[in-house]
């Protein structure tokens, strides 16, 4: 296997690694006969190390709205190596992906996480995945409504696409009528929020030490999820039921400290049904996501629906242009700031994506979001390009505006910013 760089390890560390892989597998209680029976296993272990180190610089165009916040400039450095071992021709594997970020300003953004530490065993028509993992569900681009397994790593970025690793036992079964996934999720992860010094937050800081749970088991509640996914011709379908701790906290002002009010987090239990559908019809991608969530405090429906249309080779060049439009709806409607509800209750998003299809994989994405119930909008530009073989440079601009005091965007209206990141991949 020329792609696996066994050469990087000296023979003695190699033996140690093999032993630790054995230990992990054994500790995990995986005594699957075909996984551990043969002596050939140890000699067939292939190891790969890869990952990235990224330097990021943010610049806010205006001074902070709240006194403790950083003023204009924020620098940070993140490291995410990935270590991977496989044996039995790839049927068994272990992956370890730690992550750490150091931020110059926001102490809450200086944080680490184990994104993945998991063992996977694959058989012909089933797969067992054990450990800390990331699982994504959904089809839309501007909001990930049905994606529910992993908690959002909120301090990482504004788009909410960064997730914390989730402990799980996941059995995946492949059938002629679709793939069925069963998840047991022990151990809940609390969402991360910007700290006192951080921008991109409301007037009150979320208190990470003041957290309450509906379940008496608290963080230890065992969550369950059952999902079916299938492709029928041009249609990709998914449906699931989730029972467990709500990944979104109800935030309320804390009475602990009246001089410096903070928000306390309350994680309810929830039952959620979700559906996602994509129809891939020629140049058109039609997308739909819908959920029904039931907690002890409320019941509601929400949807995200839209399309993506591609023009191939515009301007007689190799450039592809994709046009996107999506609408968000939430049955709770418009809500006052601080009350429960969604920011995306009746919002329209349009976007354009240019893929240059050049050697450097240059891409440009522009998006515009607008609240149809009142005057609020967001605008983003994201451009990225490869330099040399190993560097990716990304430039983002995000503008947020609202004239409605009840809107979260109103509290962020001084937080327009540009962000430049240089990542080295190895």
């Amino acid at each position: 296997m020329q792609f696996f760089s066994d050469a990087r390890l000296s023979s003695s560390t190699n033996i140690k690694l093999k032993q630790s892989v054995m230990a992990i597998a054994t500790c995990a209680g995986i005594l699957l006969s075909n996984a551990l029976s043969t002596n050939a296993m140890a000699s067939d272990i292939a190891f790969e190390a890869s990952g990235n180190i990224a330097l990021e610089q943010r610049y806010f165009f205006e001074d902070a709205l709240y006194p403790t916040q950083l003023n204009r400039s924020q620098t940070s450095l993140s490291v995410e190596p990935e270590l991977y071992w496989q044996w039995n021709n790839g049927d068994d594997s272990v992956i370890f992906t730690p992550f750490y970020r150091v931020d110059s300003q926001d102490s809450q953004r200086t944080h680490g996480d184990i994104r993945e530490l998991a063992y996977v065993h694959a058989s012909d028509d089933w797969e067992l995945r054990l450990g800390i993992r990331k699982e994504f569900w959904g089809v839309t681009e501007f909001q990930h409504l049905v994606d529910v397994i992993n908690q959002t790593d909120g301090v990482e970025d504004f788009d909410g696409e960064d997730k914390l690793g989730q402990q799980m036992v996941n059995l995946s079964m492949v059938n002629d009528w679709g793939i069925v996934d069963v998840f047991l999720l022990p151990g809940f992860r609390e969402r991360t929020y910007a700290g006192e010094e951080g921008r991109l937050r409301g007037p009150f800081v979320v208190d990470e030490d003041n957290v309450n749970y509906e379940s008496s088991a608290g963080k230890q509640h065992l969550d369950l999820a059952l999902r079916w996914a299938h492709s029928i011709g041009d249609y990709d379908l998914g449906a699931y039921w989730f029972h467990g701790t709500n990944r979104e906290a109800y935030l309320s002002p804390s009475s602990n400290n009246t001089l410096q009010p903070t928000l306390q987090q309350y994680y309810s239990q929830m039952d959620q049904l979700g559906v996602d559908v994509q129809a891939t019809l020629g140049d058109w991608l039609w997308k739909f996501e819908g959920i029904h969530r039931s907690t002890s405090l409320e019941d509601f429906w929400a949807t995200q629906a839209g399309f993506e249309y591609s023009f191939v080779g515009v301007f007689e060049s190799n450039i592809d242009l994709g046009l996107l439009m999506e609408h968000s709806w939430d049955s709770r409607g418009e809500v006052a700031l601080g009350a429960q509800g969604s920011l995306m209750q009746n919002d329209l998003f349009v976007g354009a994506r240019l893929a240059f299809n050049d050697m450097q994989s240059s891409e440009l994405l522009m998006g515009f979001g607008s609240d149809l119930d009142h005057n609020a909008f967001s605008f983003l530009i994201e451009a990225n390009r490869r330099f040399g073989d190993n560097f990716i440079v990304t430039f983002d601009v995000r503008l947020l505006q609202s004239n409605d005091e009840n809107d979260l965007l109103y509290t962020l209206s001084n937080d327009d910013h540009a962000q430049l990141s240089v990542a080295w991949y190895f």
Partner: protein, 269 residues
């Protein structure tokens, strides 16, 4: 050329509908068309029965100034009888796309089914297969140049024999049936002994010569299946070129349908 293409798609559409009382004889192929088709059928037939294969591919992209960029890719393919083949493409370099994987169920005439796995988000995305004329990974190969050869994808015309590096070749003109193809036609050199493709000239939508692909270092596997270790694509219009180097070809490795689904896409390495 265009009328030819329209005529061919009309033939396909009409014959599949079988609604008309018009005799099919009126659409009968000319002697050149029949011979062109027969050569391609024979070439396809001689390679049947490979079942499945795995191979490593190195792509060297060169621009006019001679600057190089490398793509490292692993391919797994499954032969599907009476339909297009299935394939899994796994990217290793450039490093920023490492772990990205691409699953394709190709179909002779219908649009292919394609999914992309994006490792950073752990997201599987169904993608449109309409973009077959676009560049693959910024190279001079279009997606359609790398998809499996299916006889139904083209209409044919035999042009005669031609010597190429001392080997006698059939010269066959191929007209893509799919209107999304980036080409009006391809001229293919197929040797008269083993029926292997040695050279392809690609003509763009304006019917000017766009690219030339040459196949060298053919090796035979399992005493039957020939594969070229080197493929070089030269773009005559922009001066860029891309070289493909294949290694570690293995056939009949025991791959099955279960190696070509969403789950295998997510864990592909």
């Amino acid at each position: 050329m265009l009328t030819k293409k329209i005529l061919m798609s009309a033939v396909l559409a009409l014959s599949s509908l079988s609604l008309l009382s018009v005799s099919h004889d009126s659409f009968a192929l000319s002697a050149e068309e029949q011979k062109g088709l027969d050569i391609s059928l024979e070439a396809k037939k001689r390679d049947l029965g490979w079942q499945d294969s795995t191979a490593d591919m190195l792509m060297l992209l060169r621009n006019k100034q001679g600057q190089e960029s490398i793509r490292e890719i692993k391919m797994k393919s499954l032969e599907v009888l009476n339909d297009g083949d299935k394939s899994l493409t796994i990217f290793n370099k450039p490093r920023d796309v490492k772990g990205t994987a691409f699953l394709s169920f190709s179909h002779p005439v219908d649009a292919d089914d394609q999914w992309l796995f994006l490792p950073a988000l752990k997201r599987v995305k169904r993608i449109s297969s309409r973009n077959k004329s676009g560049p693959f990974m910024g190279s001079e190969f279009a997606f359609e140049d790398l998809s499996s050869f299916e006889v139904e994808k083209y209409a044919y015309k035999y042009l005669g024999v031609d010597e190429l590096n001392g080997v006698t070749n059939f010269k066959v003109e191929q007209y893509p049936v799919d209107e999304n193809s980036g080409y009006t036609r391809r001229i293919v050199w197929i040797d008269t002994k083993e029926y292997l493709v040695h050279k392809i000239d690609f003509y763009d939508r304006k019917d000017s010569l766009l690219k030339t692909l040459t196949f060298t270092d053919y090796k035979q596997y399992l005493a039957k299946h020939w594969r070229a270790d080197t493929q070089e694509m030269i773009n005559h219009q922009n001066g860029k070129s891309t070289e493909l180097k294949w290694a570690n070809y293995h056939f009949k490795t025991g791959l099955s349908d279960s190696d070509f689904n969403r789950n295998s896409l997510k864990r592909a390495r």
